[in-house]
Amino acid sequence: SSSSAAPGAPAASHGKGTGTTDGGGALLKVFMPSTSNVYLAAASQSIKDEAKALNYTVNIVENNWDQTEQDQQVQEWLATGERAAAVLMWPAGAAAATNSIRLLSAQAPVIQFNNLVTPEASKYVTAYSGVSDTGIGKEAGANALAAVEKLKAEGVKFHGPGGKPNVVEIRFTAGYAAGDDREKAFAEATPGAFNMLAVEPTPTVDAQGGFKAASQVIPRFLGQGIDIVYAHSNDVANGVVQALEQNGLKPGKDVILITGTSSGDMTNLRSGKIWSATLQSPVIEGALVVRTAAQYIATGQVQSGDVTIESSATKPELKVEAPHTATYMMNPQVTAENNASFDIWGLSFDKLMGK
């Protein structure tokens, strides 16, 4: 979804690169939502660690998941006239953050993370790095297809018309862009494979919300038979597990639960009630955004095109080369079987999840 256009005028005005990934103590200004959520807490810690390793100073300003507040904070910072080598921006609401990003881009290169760059904002954002909601949706789709194949081989019959599996999707909150991407990518990865019964948004993006939505949707389709539930995150799926069980369905047996992000409590994933999740590591995302910034500062350039980084066992050396317009983190599948043996960048699954 991101354009391959070279960064706009603001970034060019920062001229040539420093030629080194060593920050020399320069400032990275970070705007992101509240670390009262464990994912953000881990990402924030990882940003600090990586910045320290690359000899950058970081200053993080948190908002309470409120774009208005973030807009204010951006204004305030701009008013101080403080210079930063780059701004790392996690918009509280990407679709509503364009104006702040535009204003920031006049002051320093903006590296956006976590929320995909909107087409409108693309001319103000120097580079994106971090999670790919499209990648997650795609991976979840692939996982779902694989699960169906496996079950078919075991002789399981599905409830939908023509033997297609019946699917209920519990998606992120209505209007939440990450949810739109995950919904769309999943559909594109599974063309015509499923009989989609309903796509129900959660009131909040957590287990509570998952339970609230699922507990009312599931009874409605009990009669038709539900084969697969696709929940946008593991955390949301934890609520779905409860709702399934309360309706007498055994997740993992009667119903296959395919999920996106590997957030939240892992008990259900480890016990197999949740069939699979996709890795979204705050540690990698935090490190990645700092690295992207460092690369840009070093080269003063961006190469057009997207790249998804590999799931390598060791953390790759940071080279002085221009970052891509978008650098996506890996989204490998996480299951009951493989989560114990994870080893990416020398980190176990728990470590990757910031524990």
């Binding site: 957590d206 287990a207 507990s215 009669g223 955390d235 409590d265 008990t267």
Partner: protein, 329 residues
């Protein structure tokens, strides 16, 4: 003209006005609920299934328990608490942590209730001394939220390997425990407000604080009791919520405070105090959840759901108000 006969005549001569109106007024909610359920059963295909009704009950139970217990505060003339969400989250986290440590969900439940009641007593002391309840609970709620977020560092809290889920999943006739607890809670709360000294005093305090004081009813002690009742409800609700999902985090339950307040007000408990009942709040909570459910079944998107629930709340509180005015004229 000067005899007692004229006074007796004075009593009997006053007609009991508008008995139909009064009946409708005192039974508005049950009548309305019945109407809503019947209409939906006819118009909405998946509504009247066992699983759906059960879903409605389950979704009502936690908001319902809190609404029922907060009714004591409202009746006592102390408006409502603006710190519900963070207090419930705290109770849930205490429940999980203590269950995890001791290996017993019951110990966790006890601890959650104990912590909530302690907080209730503290707030009751402040409010009973004459400070504004709305400000006090708003402030305490913010403080609790901050402290919980700091203490948990934003992490999801669980009970580890200890089984706490049975509290929310144990079921009888396929209806899980929280629903029974909700019903029991409502019944007990009704009994206590109607038939105990403290319940009666809570009513009288809300009906007229000055008269209550002159009649030897201590505003301080009575307020504290109301907050204790509230604390018990919060503790139980927090524990049930946490056990339902085996987890809790600081940011959970963001919309809970408004849901509970709406339930109490839709139930028709007077904000000015002295009037209302826990049963009505329970029905209020049920009505709101049922309406949301019906709209969900009709596939309305979120905007319409919020809009219609808002519209119905407005119409309902206005109708209750007008009925009350007519029947007490």
């Amino acid at each position: 003209m000067t005899s007692t006969a004229s006074i007796a005549a004075d009593f009997t001569a006053r007609p009991t006005r508008g008995s139909v109106v009064r009946f409708v007024n005192s039974h508005t909610l049950p009548l309305l609920l019945a109407a809503v359920f019947i209409a939906s059963a006819i118009s909405t295909p998946d509504f009247a299934t066992f699983a759906n009704i059960r879903a409605i009950l389950i979704n009502t139970s936690i908001v319902g328990i809190i609404a029922v217990s907060m009714t004591a505060i409202t009746i006592s003339g102390n408006f409502f608490s603006l710190g519900i969400a963070s207090s419930t989250v705290l109770a849930g986290i205490v429940f999980l942590a203590v269950s995890g440590l001791t290996g017993s969900a019951l110990a966790g439940l006890g601890a959650a209730v104990a912590v909530s009641v302690t907080l209730g007593i503290m707030q009751g002391l402040i409010v009973g001394a004459g400070l504004n309840p709305v400000i006090t609970t708003l402030a305490v709620g913010s403080v609790i939220y901050g402290l919980v977020a700091i203490a948990t560092k934003g992490a999801v809290v669980t009970a580890g390997s200890v089984d706490v889920a049975w509290l929310a999943t144990w079921n009888f006739l396929e209806i899980p425990l929280p629903v029974y607890i909700f019903v029991l809670f409502t019944a007990v709360a009704w009994f206590l407000t109607e038939h105990t000294l403290i319940g009666r005093n809570i009513h009288l305090l809300g009906a007229n604080r000055a008269t209550a004081r002159n009649s030897g009813i201590s505003p301080q002690a009575t307020t504290i009791w109301a907050f204790i009742a509230f604390g018990v409800g919060l503790g139980v609700a927090g524990a049930l919520n946490a056990s339902q999902l085996h987890q809790m985090q600081a940011n959970d339950l963001a919309g809970l405070t408004m849901d509970v307040i709406a339930a109490v007000l839709v139930g028709g408990t007077a904000v000015s105090g002295g009037e209302g009942s826990p049963t009505r709040s329970a029905l209020g909570a049920l009505l709101i959840v049922a309406l949301g459910n019906i709209m969900l079944l009709h596939g309305l998107d979120n905007g319409w759901r919020v809009f219609l629930v808002g519209g119905i709340v407005v119409v309902l509180v206005v109708a209750l108000h007008v009925l009350r005015k007519v029947s007490t004229r």
